[in-house]
Subunit: 199 residues, 2 copies
DNA sequence: CCATTCGCTCAACACTTGTTGACTCAACGA
DNA sequence: TCGTTGAGTCAACAAGTGTTGAGCGAATGG
């Protein structure tokens, strides 16, 4: 149970002191609980008390570490950098589909927290809008057809809708569906919206 | 300002008494404020006090009339019957598109309230899931291709995504877009998902 | 005309929320 | 070894929430 810890930091460099180590551990534990809570209850229903309880920590500590519930939320939804899409339209569509095929069902809690809260929490809405707008621009600049941005926005909206229906609403018809199957059925439609022959 | 009212109910039948009339008026006024509040803040952030204030009424009256915030919400999201879809696949796709073409931008507050709350309010989620599941079945039973229900679910999800992105998130690229244009761009994609040649 | 109904308000309750400041005590560094 | 730092707790506060019960006064109807 008790984990042995170097007392004097014998090794050469920046061996983190036991205290700092412990601090980062609890901080990470809190963040993890927070992400889970925000992801499945949304910003308003997730309470600091519940988060603290799951992290086995006093509520006051959460505030002491993160400043406020809002700041905790911001830290919670910060996601590891998403590699930017690139290539021609065909490749982009495939990339988007692959993202669904692989990642749906295993989306990071940060993303789910974000999506869960974006309709009711104004700051989450702003951030979501910014993120989605960004993807629209990325996609749009590769589309040659007229109304590139509008088409891109519709593609993004489609993926958004499928993700919400599947991950957050748990639509019955999507419950058992395999991500690959979904991607496969979506492909012709997405290609059509992107303005290339559906093939 | 003062509207003349029959004192003795001279006319033959069921002339509503002034009191009852007044009551239904305030009840409707409260419902209207509630719908607006739920639609733009969501269930948790919409407060009874704010609703009552906008309806120029005491908060207690809201509870007295509707029982609880939850019951008020249920009454608020009850929407006038949606005509069930019917016909073959082509007609169904057109009907769905027409619904976007006409109604996006002028969706009833009840629907918006529902959608706004469905990710964070469990009861709203249940009701939304039920409604969407219903539409999936309607659509699915008309699709001849394999995976009819899955295809139907993807169509419904697409419409859901577009509506959310347009009405609730206010995506920049969708901001100015005309509903007809959106429907037009969506058509080939939807037809593809429905399993008919995109044409 | 008068007793009763009933729309409506007022003030308060009970509870939950985020947040704060004083405090404890083990780890730390010299 | 000893003073200091800092992780973590405890109890409490202030604000806001939904909800309740007593009460007022006008409409009602006999």
């Amino acid at each position: 149970m008790a984990q042995r810890v170097n007392v004097k930091s014998v090794t050469v460099k920046d061996e983190p002191t036991a205290r700092a180590q412990r601090r980062r551990q609890t901080e990470e534990r809190i963040l993890s609980s927070a992400r889970r809570a925000f992801a499945q209850r949304g910003f308003e229903r997730a309470t600091i008390r519940a988060i603290a309880a799951e992290a086995e920590v006093d509520p006051a500590l959460v505030i002491q570490y993160f400043g406020s519930k809002q700041e905790l939320f911001q830290r919670s939804v910060q996601l590891g950098s998403v590699p930017p899409l690139s290539g021609d339209v065909d490749e982009l569509v495939e990339a988007v589909l692959a993202r669904i095929g692989m990642k749906i069902g295993s989306l990071p809690q940060a993303t789910l927290a974000m999506m869960r809260s974006m309709l009711t929490h104004p700051e989450a809405a702003d951030q979501a809008r910014a993120t989605l707008d960004g993807q629209v621009v990325e996609l749009g600049s590769a589309i040659e057809a007229e109304d590139a941005d509008l088409r891109a926005a519709l593609m993004v909206s489609t993926m958004l809708g499928v993700t919400i229906a599947h991950q957050l609403l748990d639509l019955t018809a999507l419950r058992g569906a395999s991500p690959q199957k979904i991607a496969e059925l979506l492909r012709p439609g997405l290609r059509a919206v992107a303005g290339v022959d559906p093939q």
